[in-house]
């Protein structure tokens, strides 16, 4: 959810507290005392070990496991199967391509609907209208609530027999029945409405922060030049939001790739709502699991993520070097 990059924080140098036990005679060649070095080593070392063990080792292990068949029972039952898992995945698994497609649809919908809407709300709220705090809170509230809880609430809305919508429009009788959760033509869109509802608030806050950073003198200048509100936004404000747009794009891609909780609560990724993350979970979690196969799906997801993230990082670093 957060877009913080995981750079290890620079350890603050420990302030010399109390009288130093003994002076270091070698002069400035030893800036740090023994205690400082131990502190530094611990502060940098422990997170590094944890990071390597929990992120890198597991990532590399799952890449290795993607080329094996393993049911999780004893290490001697790991069998090398080469590219077999991937071949099966691309040809035999009837859920794989729909899952990829749904992840893509997820991204396209999030970028086309809630993102502009969030921007629109942010621009309106930025005008300091009355009750703006109230609106801000109302739109941001869905972001604060856990997605699993969001899923439960939306289920109450969509439940075909007793849900809010069907009860209101009378679509819960035999003959004219709308199955929001089960119908594969409907359920992805139903769940995307819930996802968009949440994403709008998220985008609104990001854009609001971006708008706060716009220099007021720019607005003044454009109004002096006789630009109307739309022209000011189009030609002056929006271009200054460029850095925010990049962040929004990356956040939205990440949201689309890690989409999971909402759908898992909604209908466990059944017909119509398959997602890569859910296929991974279904294959790996549980008794007599297919760890190799699940890892292969995870590798596909990793490759897609890298294909998106690497160009972004390259662009960011290039900018930094130029600066």
């Amino acid at each position: 959810m957060s877009i913080e990059t995981q750079t290890p924080k620079a350890a603050p140098t420990v302030p010399p507290s109390g009288p130093a036990p003994r002076k270091v005679p070698q002069g400035h060649s030893r800036l740090l005392t023994r205690r400082d070095r131990i502190t530094l080593a611990l502060m940098a070392g422990v997170p590094t070990i944890l990071h390597v063990a929990l992120v890198w080792v597991t990532a590399l292990a799952s890449i290795a496991l993607a080329f094996t068949s393993w049911d999780g029972i004893g290490f001697d039952s790991i069998k090398w199967v080469g590219l077999d898992n991937f071949r099966q995945l691309f040809t035999d698994n009837p859920q794989f391509w729909p899952a990829v497609e749904h992840n893509v649809i997820w991204f396209v919908v999030l970028i086309l609907i809630p993102t502009p809407f969030g921007l629109f709300l942010a621009v309106q709220l930025d005008k300091k209208i009355r009750f703006s705090r109230l609106y801000q809170t109302a739109f941001f509230l869905p972001v604060v609530v856990s997605l699993a809880v969001t899923g439960f609430v939306w289920q109450l809305v969509y439940n075909p027999d007793t849900g809010l919508i069907n009860s209101l429009i009378g679509a819960n009788k035999p003959g004219h029945y709308i199955d929001w959760i089960g119908d594969p033509k409907l359920n992805l869109w139903a769940v995307l409405i819930a996802a968009s509802w949440r994403h709008t608030g998220y985008m609104m806050i990001l854009y609001l922060a971006g708008l706060k950073g716009v220099d007021p003198s720019l607005r003044e200048a454009s109004s002096l030049d006789g630009a109307n509100e739309w022209q000011t936004f189009k030609n002056v404000i929006f271009p200054t939001l460029r850095p925010t747009n990049t962040v929004v794009l990356v956040v939205t891609i990440i949201e689309a790739l890690r989409a999971f909780d909402l759908v898992f609560v909604f209908n466990k990724g059944a017909q119509g709502t398959e997602l890569l993350s859910i296929l991974i979970t279904n294959n790996i979690i549980g008794e007599s699991s297919r760890i190799g196969y699940g890892s292969a799906i995870a590798v596909v997801l990793l490759v897609i993520s890298l294909a998106v993230i690497i160009p972004y990082l390259i662009a960011t670093f290039r900018k930094e070097r130029q600066a």
Binding site: D71, I73, T162, D179, I181, G182, Q271, G286, S288, S289
Partner: protein, 438 residues
């Protein structure tokens, strides 16, 4: 800051701290206690001969209490304490692999069928033939068959079971003058009549993806018999076999009479249509009775065995998922374990259990049925009279196959009953790779 509060509000902080300190101390003590205890054991044995540890997945209040009462009775009789480690039902299932490979309890709760055989075959369970020499007389042949691994040895001691059947309300059948159907044609005719009478013929909800497996199982063993069911579930028979196609053809014939919108409905919601007398029939396990909270409604509930399709097999097979116990690969207290399992295999143990949990029936045919409700009696007779018992698709087959292949495939069929041929070849391809993997 705490001084600002004049009341005792500042108290929780120090008391919580001391509580934590106490807990930490207790944990340290317990940690130290383990090696101490084992040192006391002496004579090579590394455990207390007076305790047996048991891993339980019975986390719900009713069964947890009911199991507890059996263990108390056992302790009274033998002087051996049962140390129960209860885990959440789903967590237990998800972790079973690593649990059995780590340091499992001596005995653990598990299910009969292929799911039991799988762990037996992997060497993660101990055979209990010596126990069965004592308790064999307490069980019908169908139960004995269920408790054996693929190698012919016993690995399982059953405790409770419940059948799957077609449930209906007596008053609804009386009101419309319906007869219980005993053949496929009668069933289809009844569905037509119910539709005419404004009822939903068959209540159905498949949101959780497993209820559809129950329908498949019933049609399959009525049409193709028990042996084919076993072969198909064990990955031996082919899913492209004309026999399997026949199952889906029959199912497609019945599908128009199923409740609309089943993909978004849970079994509980589907059961409510039966409670409300809006649906005529409902194919499910006897646990459907849990949804009948009103006593009068519950008394009105009845069921019949799924109708005959092929006269060669009649109605001789009953789907009866069975729960019971298995022994881990190297129990610390083998003698105690044997004693415990012998006790659990007695009719008395089952009667003790059923006193607290009347939603299931005893696996033993020797247990007294005096305290049973009419529904339980009927369920018990149905199981005792069965020639063969099946478990359920996900208990009779590899769970990875049923959850990753069969659940989505059956849902696909329900959405589009016409695309069966390509669906079946897809299932067969996926099945081959899964069953070949280990």
């Amino acid at each position: 800051m705490q001084d600002l509060s004049p009341s005792g509000l500042s108290l929780p902080s120090p008391s919580r701290r001391s509580l934590l300190r106490g807990a930490g101390g207790a944990a340290l003590l317990a940690g130290a206690g383990i090696p101490l205890l084992s040192a006391c054991g002496g004579s090579g044995s590394s455990s207390d001969p007076k305790t047996v540890s048991l891993g339980s997945n019975q986390s719900d209040a009713v069964p947890k209490k009911a199991y507890g009462e059996i263990y108390t009775a056992f302790t009274k009789q033998s002087g051996i304490t049962v140390k129960v480690n209860t885990k959440d039902h789903n967590t237990f299932q998800e972790q079973i692999n690593s649990y059995l490979q780590g340091t499992p309890d001596d005995v653990f709760n598990w299910f009969a069928g292929y799911r039991m055989q799988f762990f037996a075959q992997k060497g993660l369970a101990s055979p209990v033939d010596d126990v069965w020499e004592k308790i064999g007389g307490n069980f019908p042949d169908a139960m004995k068959k269920l408790s054996k691994g693929a190698d012919g040895k016993y690995y399982f001691v059953p405790l409770t079971t419940y059948p799957w059947a077609v449930f209906y309300r007596k008053s609804v059948f009386q009101q419309h003058g319906y007869q219980v159907p005993t053949t496929w044609d009668e069933l289809v005719a009844l569905c037509k009549q119910m539709k005419k009478d404004g009822l939903v013929p068959i209540a159905f909800g498949d949101k959780d993806a497993w209820p559809a497996m129950g329908t498949f199982d019933q049609i399959n063993f009525r049409l193709n018999g028990y042996d084919f069911h076993v072969e198909l579930m064990a990955g031996k028979a082919s899913w492209t076999d004309a026999k399997v196609k026949g199952v889906f053809d029959h199912w497609a014939e019945l599908l128009p009479y199923h409740q609309d919108g089943f993909m978004g409905r849970t079994w509980q919601d589907a059961a409510q249509t039966l409670v409300a007398k809006k649906a005529g029939m409902y194919l499910l396990g006897t646990f459907v009775a849990q949804q009948f909270t009103n006593k009068a409604d519950l008394d009105d509930l009845d069921f019949f065995a799924f109708p005959e399709i092929n006269s060669a097999y009649g109605q001789d097979t009953v789907e009866a998922p069975t729960d019971g116990f298995m022994v881990s690969k190297s129990p610390k207290n083998k003698a105690g374990v044997t004693k415990l399992l012998e006790f659990l295999g007695t009719p008395e143990a089952e009667e003790t259990y059923l006193k607290s949990d009347p939603s299931v029936v005893a696996a033993s045919n020797k247990a007294s049925t005096a305290a049973y409700s009419p529904l339980q009696k009927k369920a018990f007779e149905m199981i005792s009279g069965a020639k063969t018992l099946t478990q359920f698709m996900d208990r009779d087959s590899r769970p990875d196959f049923t959850s990753t292949v069969m659940q989505p495939s059956l849902q696909k069929f329900l959405q589009n009953p016409k695309g069966v041929d390509s669906l079946l070849s897809s299932i067969e391809r996926q099945k081959k790779t899964i069953f070949a993997s280990s």
